[in-house]
């Protein structure tokens, strides 16, 4: 399959870019941030995302979604990276939707997938526990209790967890990992909103003797690892797409600056020192793009069971976006350091996306292990 978007995918990209630049440009993020919005994310916008078919992009049509694949989810994620729009898309439309599509019971799917697709419900996947993404070291426990389980542990970096209508919690059960659908209002669930550096939101969640019924299990007891990994890999590939969108947008803004800013009586874009750095960055961004679409296509084709193409994409896109935002601030000079200019916002968003679902080091390590060294 050619490593470029199909006609339909290009139309989706144009729709997503058009919708976001009209309805949720960077001013939208600034508005939420500067007004200290109670949620930090717009439910109205999420609803509109549902109407556009973006929220349920990977949800099957029989559950009200668009029935599309990873490439299309990546297209939406990249568009979100360009406008820095806070959206439950990652937590709900990608991670939680993927868990439910792959492993949810008919009841669970019927209860939640149509509402995610419509942009009515926000779900959050609670995986991380420490400061770094280490899904193999999940310590939250699920002990059998009554007709179900009792959950104990602490989660962090739970995307939009403070406004979630339901949580999907990954916990260690007797012989493996198990995923649970948890009502955030259940006794013993304590949620703290954490406003992040990029003015997007996450939550720290403490679970103290949280009692859930047996039918809260998503997938099978002790069988959560593969289910989780499938969702994480889609999430990682989408995060990589978003990194590419953010990195490229910061680059485009910088190119415009190079074409208009004058010093020494010349446009600064005439200086070879800046031309070469820009050309290098362009090249890196193209590589990231290729890695991302390659990973997304392989996910759709079921050709990346170990998630290695995904790891390459996340590592590469992360490092490249990091370079893009460093160069953006540096080439803008003093104004790049101001809150008024947007490039600093890209720097902050890229830092968060880099950390999300494993940074470049995590994914390079994974690749090294898989290659047998």
């Amino acid at each position: 399959m050619p490593l470029i978007l199909t006609e339909e995918q290009t139309m989706l990209k144009e729709a997503a870019d058009g919708f976001l630049s009209e309805n949720a440009p960077i001013a939208h993020l600034r508005g939420l941030r500067d007004s200290h919005d109670a949620d930090g994310v717009s439910r109205d916008l999420w609803k509109a995302f549902g109407e556009m078919g973006f929220a349920g992009v990977i949800i099957p049509e029989e559950h009200g979604g668009s029935g599309l694949g990873a490439v299309e989810a990546g297209v939406v994620a990249e568009a979100l990276g360009r406008t820095l729009t806070p959206s439950p898309f990652f937590g709900s439309g990608v991670l939680s939707a993927k868990v439910l599509v792959d492993g949810g019971s008919a009841e669970q799917q019927g209860a939640w997938l149509p509402r995610i697709a419509a942009g009515e419900a926000i779900l959050s996947l609670a995986v991380d526990e420490g400061a770094k993404h280490r899904p193999s070291a999940i310590a939250t426990t699920a002990e059998r209790s009554g007709n179900g389980f009792k959950l104990n542990g602490a989660k962090g970096f739970v995307l939009d967890g403070h406004v979630a209508d339901a949580l999907i919690v990954a916990a260690r059960s007797e012989n493996g990992l198990t995923l649970f659908l948890v009502d955030p209002k259940t006794a013993g669930v304590a949620i703290e909103r954490t406003v992040m550096v990029d003015a997007h939101n996450a939550a720290r969640i403490v679970l103290t003797d949280v009692q859930v019924d047996a039918d809260a299990v998503v997938g099978t007891v002790d069988g959560g690892e593969a289910l989780l990994e499938g969702a994480l890999n889609l999430g990682r590939a989408c995060a990589a797409a978003s990194l590419t969108g953010a990195g490229d947008q910061a680059f485009q803004i910088t190119l415009e600056y190079l074409r208009t800013r004058k010093q020494f009586g010349k446009l600064i874009g005439e200086f070879q020192a800046l031309q070469h750095r820009s050309a290098h960055l362009f090249t890196e961004i193209e590589l990231a793009r290729a890695a991302v679409i390659g990973a997304l296509q392989r996910l759709d084709a079921g050709k990346d069971p170990a998630g290695l193409a995904v790891s390459v994409a996340k590592a590469k896109a992360g490092r490249v976006a990091e370079l893009a935002v460093q160069e953006a601030v540096q080439m803008h000079g003093g104004v790049g350091m101001t809150d008024e200019f947007d490039v600093g916002l890209f720097m902050k968003r890229v830092r968060v996306l880099n950390e999300l679902l494993g940074d470049a080091a995590f994914h390079s390590e994974k690749l090294a292990r898989a290659q047998g060294y």
């Binding site: 470029i4 590589l287 994409a313």
Partner: protein
Amino acid sequence: MTDLDAFRAETRAWLEANCPPEVRGPLDSDEDRVWGGRNATFKTPAHKVWMDRMGARGWTAPEWPKEYGGGGLSREEAKVLASEMRRIDAQMPLSSFGIWMLGPALLQFGTEEQKKRFLPEIVRGEIRWCQGYSEPGAGSDLAGVQTRAVDEGDHWIVNGQKVWTSYADKADWIFCLVRTDPDAPKHLGISFVLFDMTTPGVSTKPIVLISGKSPFCETFFDDVRVEKENLVGTLNRGWDVAKALLAHERTMIGGMGMIGGGRPMGQVAGDSVGVDADGRLDDPMLRARIAELEVDLMAFQLSMERVGDQVKAKQVSPAIASMLKYYGSELNKRRHELAMAAGGSDTLEWESDRSHKGGAARDWLRTKANSIEGGTSEIQLNIIAKHLLQLPGA
């Protein structure tokens, strides 16, 4: 089963039956490549068999039209062929400047007669070509070539000197930039001509490089007769042909580091560096650098494929070749630096049989030319800034 699946099955069966065991597995050294030509040398007889079989099928140039000896495959079929060859670790049957550089330019600019005459013998590896581009006074500023072609009616008489002519001493024919109008602006007085290296007046002198090898020559033309029928494209507009060809050359050089396969570098490094109890390379810093390189190699592999798809879909400027050339050559240099670090003092032996006579070291040194030949990295960055980024004054 789709047509592509059927093609894959047939291809796999054919390769199984026709790819000799001797040509499977990575090359020990760049020296083992098959280049074809009138004076072809082969590491083993099986290497000739492999070239001949693939050439007869047109699979040395899979996407060229069948009428010119090519494989006539679609891009998707060619990808299948490449992946099936990788699957069995098949070596490239034929390395050829004719296939990588001249052929695509002839397909674009050549007359029907030229295509019929030159392309099939390129596909079969019968004629080996070299490239007469750089001159002592025209390196990065290639359009400054001074080799002069004087019009003598039905032919030209060519005088001048080329340099860095890869394998000129082993090549049968040359594609060459000559100045046909010394009074025109420099880009508008150049023509692209072809001639036989055995023509009287042609001589070559190999240049010894830091690797101890001599892949490049100085090439001298002393009253060399060139027939007018061997002009490619329009008189005095050879720069257009030259540029198109350079795009192919750059794509080729960019891809040089990607040929091979075999064990991942991190595993190979384990042979010399050792591994810890968990099977990790026993040098965490080197291991991290190798893993980082592998990420870039895989991303670059996809990028090459993607650029091909973009070119096919006419979504991108030909200047995109500069991106592949720049990144690929820098990546290949990095790869060989790491290979030397991984091999430690074992790879420093210059003459021993243990080291294949310094094979790794000589290959490492050879890669330093990658970011110079075909236009330096700095020239590629200039081209990207000007043609792909439209930066002012570039």
